[in-house]
């Protein structure tokens, strides 16, 4: 089908290579706390999202991540007593003992926060570019139950979101406005949750009725060959994984947060960060150019 032929490369490529691409970005963010590398992964993630037209999904995820990340930064600053640059000394406090707020603890807290934001953004990119229908098709024969669960979960998000939206509108149609505050919210959540099982059963019944459980194999010789978009995204994903392996093997972009924050930033780190961005963005850019030609 040509339903996705006008889509950007990362959206058009098959789900398996898109998933690998997203996984590589998440793995890089998990492997390094060096701010330069995290910023490079962030730039790669947002660049890829922009080139794929899914920046809106990313913005939503980041909005959700920022409060969580800030909380993490503050908690690290308060609870970690390492570091030599004391910003504030509270002295001995009950339960806490001696409490010193150090610059290093806050700085490292903010780096952890940045990592959380980048990981959530890369995960959101993965969700946005991987076609769940394709995942459902590919997993059907090898992991039927997992695919069924994944399909149900994917579909149920939409169904329950619309249920909740409709119920919220119905609540607002009540003469008293349906109340407000936590109790009204709890009632709504409870009601949507109570209906979730029925809805899941209905969706599962539909999957059965469409013959999902039969697991008939497609005819031989009917495999889709790797398209240019698939090859481009796969190359980028493998490149990112290779960079991850090289970085981990040679101990690149290491830094020590305590006792004094020491972020080594020489040419190697700069080059390494630049390579991450270039490798990640090569697929969407080169793939698009190839198509225009």
């Amino acid at each position: 089908m040509n339903a996705r032929s006008k889509s950007p490369v990362l959206v058009r490529a098959r789900s398996s290579v898109c998933a690998l691409y997203g996984f590589a970005l998440v793995a890089l963010a998990l492997a390094f706390t060096h701010p330069l590398i995290l910023l490079a992964v962030a730039a790669a993630t947002f660049g890829a999202a922009r080139l794929s037209g899914v920046q809106r999904q990313l913005r939503g995820a980041v909005r959700f991540a920022i409060p969580l990340a800030l909380m993490l930064a503050v908690i690290n600053g308060i609870l970690v007593r390492d570091g030599v640059t004391v910003l504030w000394r509270f002295g001995d406090l009950p339960f806490f003992g001696q409490l010193d707020l150090t610059g290093e603890a806050f700085a490292y807290g903010f780096l952890l926060a940045l990592r959380v934001v980048v990981i959530i953004a890369a995960s959101a990119l993965t969700v946005a570019i991987v076609d769940p229908d394709d995942v459902l098709r590919r997993m059907r024969r090898s992991a039927f139950r997992s695919a069924l669960t994944a399909a149900l979960a994917t579909r149920m998000i939409g169904v329950l979101t619309r249920d909740a939206r409709r119920m919220d509108q119905a609540r607002r149609c009540r003469p008293d406005g349906g109340g407000s505050g936590r109790r009204a919210q709890l009632l709504m959540v409870g009601s949507v949750a109570a209906g979730a099982l029925d809805r899941a059963v209905d969706v599962a019944a539909t999957l059965e009725l469409r013959g999902y459980a039969t697991r008939v194999a497609p005819p031989r010789g009917d495999r889709v060959p790797y398209a240019r978009a698939d090859r481009a995204v796969l190359a980028s994903a493998l490149g990112l994984l290779a960079l991850l392996l090289i970085g981990a093997t040679f101990g690149l972009a290491n830094f020590e947060p305590y006792p004094r924050l020491n972020i080594a930033t020489d040419l190697t780190e700069l080059l390494y960060a630049a390579l991450i961005v270039l490798t990640a963005l090569a697929a969407p850019i080169v793939g698009e150019r190839g198509r225009r030609r």
Binding site: A170, V203, A205, A213, A217
Partner: protein, 539 residues
């Protein structure tokens, strides 16, 4: 070999005492078009679920007897196996789509059959063209309206060209045009492909003319299995609520036999000299849109509208215009029907009038609060008990006091709707009450109850505006009809004027009589025919 056969099949849902189906024995042969009907909770949907294998494989419970679908015994084969021979469409389209895009949804059943890519692509294209949804192929299913979702789900059920199609109220969310098109499509599949069809439907007038046989279920038992005309004769005697408007028209006029459709009814009337042989004429163009109806002009000049809007425009974030400069005013006690195709903007207009959504431009004014009953009454029910939803006085008003301790999910559809109406009407009397498709999936008895309740409200001075595809409801209830198209009110006229002159937006009575006398209801039409018979009988 029959396409589908039930042999003394009985079934009881888990945790229930009363069987939902009792000793049902019936067979549907290849190439037959069978309609199944009955009042609410008579067992129609259970019959269909038994034919698709969901009962008992999916729902559990206790079953006895035998069901064979395309040679597969449902005792040995589950819904997955039966899907190879039968396509099924259940009631709620929202849970009938499982993929992210329309194209993927239509391809899914074909892929599950192990077809080649070329065969899948051809199948998707063909079914999309057949159901006029080709323009939706690339759309995400989350963006579709209820009517569009229903057509896509139907497409998925039909894509693999099954030998048997099982459909549970497939036209419930469709406008009259799309509903008629769908029934014609089924008839075409039935005639050209030899597909056997089992269609569950409340609005018999829409499909009876196409049916070879009609099954009637009552309290889980098969009480009638006959050709349409015979079934209507049976209904007149045993279950009048199942009579079609044309059958009631004939009954009122004292004519027999009851007709199964418009064509047959017109032929009978012509043979009696009660109708000339010309094609139905347009009894008059609907009047152009105007701010106030004939009814409202009769109101006291000093009277203020209960609800009005000026220059109402609504645009989606992507710039698409849903409503365009809508002007409307409803007088106290006025009953108005809002009609139009799927996607015409009816629901959006109601939501804006009720203050649920903000208009992009324009102004809404109302005497006091505006009550809105949305399409799905179940959405209003969020408590554990019925008496948690409204006070005892409202329950008593709506005849629901006996259900006070029940869980809202355990009450019937009609009771749920009464309860939801009770919720939105509780407290201060609203100046207007707006209802969005209130008769979806309702039998005629429940519909009559709703009309009586709305008449009471209207008599108390509340303006009533009902968005509906149901022309029979509009004719029985409203004095005025607004026709919405492309976000604009294109006609605003008395009900008889709008519903007697057209074809799709016309009642069955009006179609039978060709718009003569602007009769829209069987009662009006019956009186007209009796008057003609009297004149003809006079020397």
């Amino acid at each position: 070999m029959s396409s589908l056969s039930f042999e003394r099949f009985s079934y009881t849902y888990p945790g229930k005492d009363r069987p939902a189906l009792r000793e049902v024995s019936v067979a549907i042969e290849a190439g037959e078009f069978v309609v199944c009907t009955g009042l609410s909770a008579s067992g129609k949907s259970t019959l269909l679920r038994a034919a698709s294998g969901l009962v008992p494989h999916f729902h559990g419970g206790v079953a006895s007897g035998r069901v064979v679908v395309g040679g597969l015994d449902t005792r040995d084969h589950g819904p997955g196996d039966l899907a190879q021979v039968a396509g099924t469409l259940l009631q709620d389209p929202e849970t009938q789509v499982v993929m992210q895009t329309v194209g993927a949804e239509l391809a899914f059943p074909l892929e599950n059959r192990g077809l080649s890519r070329a065969a899948v692509a051809r199948g998707v294209e063909e079914i999309a063209l057949t159901l006029s949804i080709a323009e939706l192929l690339e759309r995400p299913v989350d963006e579709l309206s209820g009517g569009e979702l229903q057509r896509v789900a139907l497409g998925a059920a039909l894509a693999a060209r099954p030998a048997l199609v099982l459909l549970d109220e497939p036209t419930s969310q469709l406008d009259p045009v799309a509903g008629d098109e769908l029934i014609w499509t089924l008839r075409r599949l039935n005639e050209e492909w030899g597909t056997a069809v089992l269609l569950i439907e409340h609005r018999l007038e829409r499909c009876l003319a196409h049916a070879d046989r009609v099954l009637v279920l009552s309290d889980g038992e098969l009480v009638c299995d006959a050709p349409p005309s015979e079934m209507l004769g049976w209904a007149a005697e045993h279950q009048p609520a199942l009579q079609t408007p044309a059958a009631r028209l004939f009954e009122r006029a004292g004519l027999r036999p009851p007709p199964s459709g418009v064509k047959e009814a017109r032929a009978t009337l012509q043979s009696h000299g009660l109708l000339d042989g010309a094609a139905p004429s347009d009894a008059g163009e609907p009047a152009p849109a105007r701010g106030r109806s004939r009814w409202s002009r009769r109101a006291e000049p000093a009277e203020q509208p209960a609800l009005s809007c000026r220059g109402l425009t609504f645009e989606l974030p992507d710039g698409r215009e849903v409503l365009n400069n809508v002007e409307l005013s409803l007088m106290p006690g006025e009953q108005t029907a809002l009609m139009g195709r799927n996607g015409a903007g009816k629901s959006t207009l109601l939501r804006i009038l009720a203050g649920l959504n903000d208009a992009t431009e324009g102004k809404v004014e109302s005497e006091s609060r505006v009550a809105l009953l949305l399409q799905n009454p179940g959405d209003y029910l969020i408590h554990e008990r019925v008496d948690g939803e409204v006070g005892a006085d409202v329950l008593a008003d709506f005849g629901l006091e006996e259900l006070a301790a029940s869980h809202p999910r355990d009450i019937s559809g009609g009771q749920r709707q009464r309860l939801a109406l009770g919720i939105v009407l509780s407290g201060e009397r609203p100046s207007a009450v707006l209802l969005d498709e209130p008769t979806r999936g309702m039998d005629r008895a429940a519909k009559g109850d709703l009309i009586s309740r709305l008449n009471e409200l209207s008599a108390a001075g509340t303006a009533v505006l009902v968005a509906t595809h149901d022309t029979e409801l509009a004719a029985a209830l409203a004095q005025r009809v607004l026709l919405l198209s492309g976000g604009r009110i294109v006609a605003d006229a008395p009900t008889a004027e709008v519903l007697s002159g057209g074809w799709h937006f016309a009642t069955e009575t009006a179609r039978v009589l060709g718009g003569q006398g602007q009769a829209c209801t069987p009662e009006e039409g019956g009186a007209l025919l009796r008057a003609r018979m009297t004149i003809e009988a006079a020397p």
